[in-house]
Symmetry: C2
Subunit: 435 residues, 2 copies
């Protein structure tokens, strides 16, 4: 939980740095609002039992509720972030960081703006978060739904097969082309030569030069949609260069992203593993992803008025799984509490003094604990401090009470100093600020 909180704090800090305000939407949505938004994954939605009233479902992500919120409140422009739980009916394979309940951290920009400026900011945010969390080297794959559709069109894939073929293409990051090709031909009924044509495109990735190359492609340059996508990507790379992050971005023609609502630029961040890591590490998939969804708000608006949106989601659960694994490997122990001072006594019948003392510490904002026992043994108390990683102990006994002092002990060095009772809080605060 401590690591998890640190990750969330970092992500939220970054979202705030980019001027987003926090939004919170309810955990459940009307069932009908969620249907037909998630393509093949719709079966994973949790429905509530009909106990009278509306039919409700638990939210599946934070994007659809955000779009619903914009439409319902007629908001035309908003930069918001949201941190919340979402639910999916999956068999949990905890080792890969996929759960039935998990936390999502989303940042989205809604509104009609000049092209690619908000999109570039989203990619900048992804870079800032991933660099900030020190996850090692990473790469953000970028593509555009319109380019993908253009490719399928010029390769003569029947429109009815677009969906199925897209989901095959999306597997290229996990399985080799020949297996993807086999799936297209054998399972999805594509002509082998059509599959080969697709293969010529989707196995390519590169930087802005690949965008230019695709502009020159004799077939693709005939497709209006693809040209629009390529034009936007060219502009996007221009802005990414100004942001100093172009070298982190790869134009990857195989990136498809499963969700139905994307309409333009899509992106997905993956960690690059050194060969040594690759052996010991888990395969974690993407750690952040997002894209442009210009049509989704319109679906919820009674008159179909839409608001263009672009956003991103940070995969905090996966990031958490990675960091936890690394800490285990490194043998790092993480404190689960933040207690700064422990109040102890070596003698019997000192509960009253301990309670008075700890109350003073709490009132001064110092994080403090004691054992809930009338007469605990000193050794038990000191062991507790070592076990919990509490750095300081305040000790009060008969001798100290008589002399009007208390002893301040450092758990690590075992050094003890006597300080005046009335200087207790000041001395502790000084000690804490030094360390």
């Amino acid at each position: 939980m401590v690591v998890r909180e640190k990750i969330l704090d970092m992500v939220i800090d970054c979202f705030k740095r980019h001027g987003a305000k926090r939004l919170d939407t309810p955990a459940f949505e009307l069932k009908e609002m969620l249907t037909e938004k998630y393509g093949e994954d719709s079966g994973l939605i949790y429905d509530l039992k009909d106990q009278g009233g509306e039919l409700l479902s638990l939210r599946y992500d934070l994007t659809v509720p955000f779009a619903r919120y914009l439409a319902m409140n007629k908001v035309k422009r908003m930069k918001r972030y949201q941190v919340g739980k979402v639910w999916r009916r999956e068999s949990p394979t905890i080792v890969q960081g996929r759960y039935r309940e998990f936390c999502q951290c989303d940042f989205d920009i809604a509104g009609q703006f000049d092209p690619m400026i908000p999109d570039a900011e989203c990619l900048k945010i992804m870079c800032e978060v991933l660099s900030g969390l020190q996850l090692g080297d990473f790469l953000i794959k970028v593509n555009d739904r319109r380019i993908l559709d253009g490719i399928l069109a010029v390769c003569a894939v029947p429109q009815s097969k677009f969906h199925a073929i897209c989901s095959s293409i999306d597997k290229l990051d996990k399985i080799p082309w020949k297996d993807v090709r086999h799936e297209m031909v054998a399972k999805k009924g594509l002509a082998p030569e059509v599959a080969d044509r697709i293969g010529d495109y989707v196995q390519r990735h590169g930087g802005v030069s690949l965008v230019e190359e695709m502009f020159q492609d004799s077939r693709l340059s005939q497709n209006k949609q693809a040209l629009e996508g390529l034009g936007d990507l060219r502009l996007l790379f221009e802005y990414l260069t100004l942001f100093g992050i172009a070298e982190k971005i790869s134009f990857d023609l195989s990136l498809a992203r499963g969700l139905d609502y994307y309409t333009g630029v899509i992106y997905e961040a993956v960690l690059l593993q050194t060969p040594a890591q690759a052996e010991e590490c888990l395969s974690v998939g993407s750690v952040a992803a997002g894209g442009r969804y210009d049509g989704l708000v319109g679906v919820f608006d009674p008159k179909g008025h839409t608001v263009p949106c672009v956003g991103l989601s940070i995969g905090v659960e996966r990031i958490f799984a990675i960091l936890e694994e690394r800490m285990k490997t490194a043998g790092l122990k993480i404190r689960t509490t933040e207690t700064q001072v422990f109040v102890a006594t070596p003698q019997k019948n000192f509960l009253h003094e301990r309670l008075k003392l700890i109350s003073e510490l709490w009132d001064a904002g110092i994080k403090a604990e004691l054992l809930y026992k009338n007469n605990p043994k000193l050794l038990t108390q000191l062991h507790y401090c070592e076990h919990m990683g509490i750095p300081l102990v305040v000790i009060i006994g008969e001798q100290e009470l008589k002399e009007g002092v208390i002893k301040l002990r450092s758990v690590a060095s075992r050094e003890e100093v006597a300080i005046k009772r009335e200087n207790l809080v000041a001395e502790i605060q000084k000690k804490l600020s030094e360390s």
Copy 2:
């Protein structure tokens, strides 16, 4: 959302000050785990639809899931806090701060300890939170389930009516005794003289002296359960005095608390309103509450092994409703974002410069925004700053570019100073640390 976050931060800070670690449990529990834990309120639980697999319900509070967690993981000792959503099938009356989905902030101490030390800490925490939030004067009512049961027993209430009579008594903070008495007699079939005997007890409240008085009560002092409860309260007041909070606590014999799982000390904090406030203010009920539940963990343990627990819950939604109302009354405007600097230009074709500039600010950790337009008007940009409460504007134009400077404008004073381009980040950080 901003006020809400501030409240949560304060509460969590306090929980950490008392050495609690954070725990998170899933939003749903097995349906059977929640049944028969909430008395009359069980009908308010949200169930999930049976889509195969286990029958699930949404959690109704954070206490039952905590007890389930302790039992399942055989944890014998834990001091945890939890912040999370809970769900209840109520008609939302938003004005009173009751919702179908709301956030709870719980702190609990589980384990076998010497009596009343953890209980006193829970009351101390409630005082710290309520003082810290500056909600005005407050009072914490304290009672003990065993004293209440003892009273009903010595007043000759049939055991089968204990529940019903308790829930009548619990209404004494909202309706006068004569109405409560009427309910007991007319609706719940109590003999009038029995009701009168109850009335003699439950209309009383006071400090530790009332505890001593009850010890002397000829009937109550014959009841073993009541004596145990009184003994614990006497000890509790001793510790509360050491914590310096005894004057905030009222022993209130009418406090019953609806939930079935409490077994000992129970408490509830209410805000004390000045007559002026009482007129304009909402009635908000309790803002924090809790108690001891020594039997709940045992219910979830296959062998019935139990772990004594005591805890508290902060009513953040109600507190939020109060603070929001006060801010409205005071005409305070709250910023929804934390943006520190806005990057503007008075000229056309300065998007590239703006993007480079803002990227530098972000990389330095400065919270910054710009308009997502190629050529926004300067007035539009300045209006945005005023509207959003952004204090500083960085202005770059042709003149500045030529001279290698940028202008730094204070939105409030409208003062502008030219600073060297390369000193930009340092100058802004200086300016921000001054304000």
